[in-house]
Symmetry: C2
Subunit: 117 residues, 2 copies
Amino acid sequence: MPITRTDKFKPKDVRLSLLAKALSHPARVAILRTLAKRNACVCGEIVEVLPIAQATVSQHLKELNNAGLVDGTMEGPSSCYCLNKDAIGRLAADLNGLFDELRSGCTTTSCSTKGKG
Amino acid sequence: MPITRTDKFKPKDVRLSLLAKALSHPARVAILRTLAKRNACVCGEIVEVLPIAQATVSQHLKELNNAGLVDGTMEGPSSCYCLNKDAIGRLAADLNGLFDELRSGCTTTSCSTKGKG
DNA sequence: TAACTTTATCGTAAAGATACGATAAAGGAA
DNA sequence: TTCCTTTATCGTATCTTTACGATAAAGTTA
């Protein structure tokens, strides 16, 4: 019953985890990179570049859109997607905030320098 | 059939997505924050702090360990977990590399300034 | 040894994610 | 209007994740 009680965790952690989830599939990372490369915001092109079907690409684009990382509009019969630079900037800031917190916190080198357990 | 053909994507994207997946649950973010807060590397304490059962915490710790973000060893009857600062540093660098790429790529403001589609 | 503590693992249940073919939806071209 | 192009959505199958109780494993204490 994975009903992850999202309300039992801190909103800050929930938000970060949702954004991380948006990046948790190689197809979505690849989509973001593709959108960044071509300053025209394509969609059918993405299908050509990725090793997955059109329906699956559309599904991933929807998730990126839901996460706010990507904007999309219909342009005639085809669509047009592009990166939401602001959202990406905020994500970068949030993640770096976490990393700073993680690195500044405990000052001991490691628990016992034995690596994996 | 979610058998995500990991070999069909770029290793770079696969690696990043796996690390992102490690951060894609609020419990795991909370665990990392807790480990950073207490410079002693606890485990039973984490169970007290989080709204989930001991078995579930152990499962999340294992995932963080597999991702390399956390080290763990048994110390007598109890265990000892701590952050792997090096791994976290590398993760931060990798993610910032992605974000730089995403933000420098396309120079157009947005596809058509219409927000979500 | 027996009892207790602490953590990991097993078994299992249920929700979620991923993938794709088929189809709908919407606009453009003839 | 009729056909074509392009994308989104539906339906469905399957794997994965999340969660927890129960139990095993390993050490400590009495």
